[in-house]
Symmetry: C2
Subunit: 382 residues, 2 copies
């Protein structure tokens, strides 16, 4: 038997892999994490290895709440913060606690395809709500809510990535945020805000989160250290009304196992206490800003007329529209033969559509590789 | 606001806490874990921090499969091993993938109360199957299966802790294992075997697991580093047919987040590679053996006639039957006033019952504390 893979990423020789929304391994803070692990175990001793407090360890919650409040410019009482095993685990837990199979959920279309796989595993009925270059469309949300009302149904929640979205890179304006929140308030709709890219802005900080703009209880926001530090930690957080935080912490999963990712949480608490996070985020911003610039320049140079894209203000992704008549899924094998890969747009639409689009990630590859990938893709399109 | 708790364990001054099935903090291998974390990050670099392979990192799967095969004396091909975030996370994932709300599951009664909370969160209908001093009763299983057949229903699985069980400490004999497997084979019933105490035996190794005795696909077995190393790692494993391993690895949760507890898995892979696990397990066996002896001696000395118990051959727990007419839940507040605590037996029965029983844990406390707890409880009973 060949050796089993150690990590999720599979790089194929000769292919510029623009499909993976993974951080560049060279940007993972290996040495500082070793320092933080050592610090955590020496300082906290057995507390770093015992069953953790269900809400997450106080060691992490308190400094993380302070860090988020400072970076986001809005207060965050620790009782609104719950430590997760990353966005995926947080979504999975929310599905278990808030939904039952065949329940309806509204899903931004396009949005993160693997969140949709989690909803699928929970048997949920996913209703697409369309987005455009400005993010989720309020008129589409209003129409979806009206349709549900006519049918006498309610959606358990709306899932959206409103800031440097996956896959589009789009960000909701403050005005749209307010309209969407009014619609949600009227309809009694819970919003699940996937906010993992907020701190990776490259031009200017984004508008406030839906969570921070909304009345208590309306929005559950998911954040993560996967993009900010290291995905292998399986560590993230959720901000929500204290009642929802208590419900998560009081679930069977947490009662039985204690806090998720407790050891990793202690290591990151030490990383925060050593004052390493701000510098690291700045380093990431600088690196990804350069890569974005390289990708944008190469697309402008190499793609044929009829292709359209908008510079993303942050995050990992650029959303590319192909000329009329092109199908990104059908093109993929030709692109891979030419040495470049991406994720076809159709994967991000729960209800179908998106054939003319594709997602390019600029997080994993160097500026040179991105430029070469764009050049190869331009050749394929011609 | 007072500081938030860091760990799950809450010790109340003046009370001998025999309720918690937690390891003694003094037995957590803090220094060796620091050494392993350092080794893992220096040796594996970014691979320890990236999105992990969905089945678990090859770095851990291969040495863990070899360790389990050696300690258990039966082959374990790596394709039958899946890395979990502990038994709780494994159970939660199995519920998501294999069940839908209102599905029936058979649950050993008594068995681990917090597993039952996870089943409850998934909306499952829990049907108790009674156990006695020899573990799950084959006649009770046959009767439950016959009843389901009459109703035209099927159970999604049977949940059991057949080896040094929680809460009873009982272990199924080889003969009962074989009868139970025949019944399961006939009925097409999947068994979920919670096998977390197997390696903590104090007199002689237990009979082989149901998993290793069964034909492929009949048993899904859950193991964990929570009892063997440190619960805060949130790291465990599942052994099952390769098809089920692939189904877990291919779920939305794993596709989205990569392998669970990937960083902790790398740290434990290093711990294994440094050759530290065998010695640590022996240290635990010696410590818990001493505590068990202290508890048994103190119970024999201090409890009034009419109390019954059997020396557990391994694990964390002793199951105590009170004299006729006693109710362990009703007694608890008097016991706590007298400075000793436990978990009332009723908590472990999904369908009610168990009032005359209670669970004592001998994992957390020193021999002296256990003896003092038994003395205090004897006073309460008199």
């Amino acid at each position: 038997m060949a050796g089993l893979p150690d990590i999720q990423l599979i790089l194929r020789p000769g292919i510029v892999e623009m499909g993976w929304g993974h951080p560049d391994p060279a940007l993972l803070p290996v040495d500082d994490m070793a320092r933080a692990a050592d610090f955590a175990l020496r300082r906290d001793g057995p507390a770093a290895l015992a069953y953790g407090a269900e809400q997450g360890p106080g060691r992490l919650i308190e400094p993380l709440a302070a860090w988020l409040a400072r970076r986001e410019g809005s207060e965050l009482p620790p009782e609104q913060l719950f430590i997760t095993g990353g966005v995926s685990q947080g979504l999975d837990l929310l599905c278990t606690l808030l939904t039952r199979p065949s329940d309806a959920v509204l899903v931004e279309a396009p949005s993160y395809h693997l969140a949709q796989r989690i909803f699928h595993d929970h048997g949920l009925c996913q209703i697409p709500v369309h987005a455009d270059e400005g993010g989720l469309r309020p008129d589409a949300l209003a129409a979806a809510l009206a349709e549900l009302r006519r049918e006498g149904r309610a959606a358990r929640f709306l899932y959206t990535v409103p800031t440097f979205g996956n896959p589009t890179g789009a960000t909701l304006s403050l005005e749209r945020r307010q309209v969407i929140l009014s619609l949600a308030n009227e309809a009694g709709l819970t919003i699940v805000e996937d906010d993992v890219y907020r701190h990776l802005w490259y031009d200017a900080p984004p508008p406030p989160s839906l969570f921070s703009l909304a009345p208590a209880g309306r929005v559950i926001r998911l954040g993560s250290f996967s993009k900010l530090l290291a995905p292998g930690l399986r560590l993230g957080w959720l901000t929500a009304a204290p009642e929802l935080v208590r419900r998560c912490a009081g679930s069977g999963l947490l009662d039985s196992g204690g806090g998720v990712s407790h050891f990793a949480a202690h290591v990151v608490a030490a990383y925060l206490e050593l004052g390493l996070l701000d510098d690291h985020v700045e380093r990431l911003q600088a690196a990804y800003r350069r890569r974005r610039a390289a990708l944008l320049a190469a697309l402008a140079r190499h793609l044929p007329p009829g292709c359209r894209w908008i510079a993303p203000g942050g995050g990992f992704f650029l959303w590319l529209q192909l000329p009329a008549g092109c199908d990104s899924a059908a093109l993929l094998s030709a692109a891979e033969r030419a040495g470049v890969s991406y994720v076809p747009g159709g994967r991000f639409f729960p209800g179908g559509g998106g054939e003319r689009y594709l997602r390019l990630a600029f997080s994993l590859l160097s500026a040179e590789e991105l430029a070469e990938g764009a050049r190869r893709f331009g050749d394929v399109l011609r």
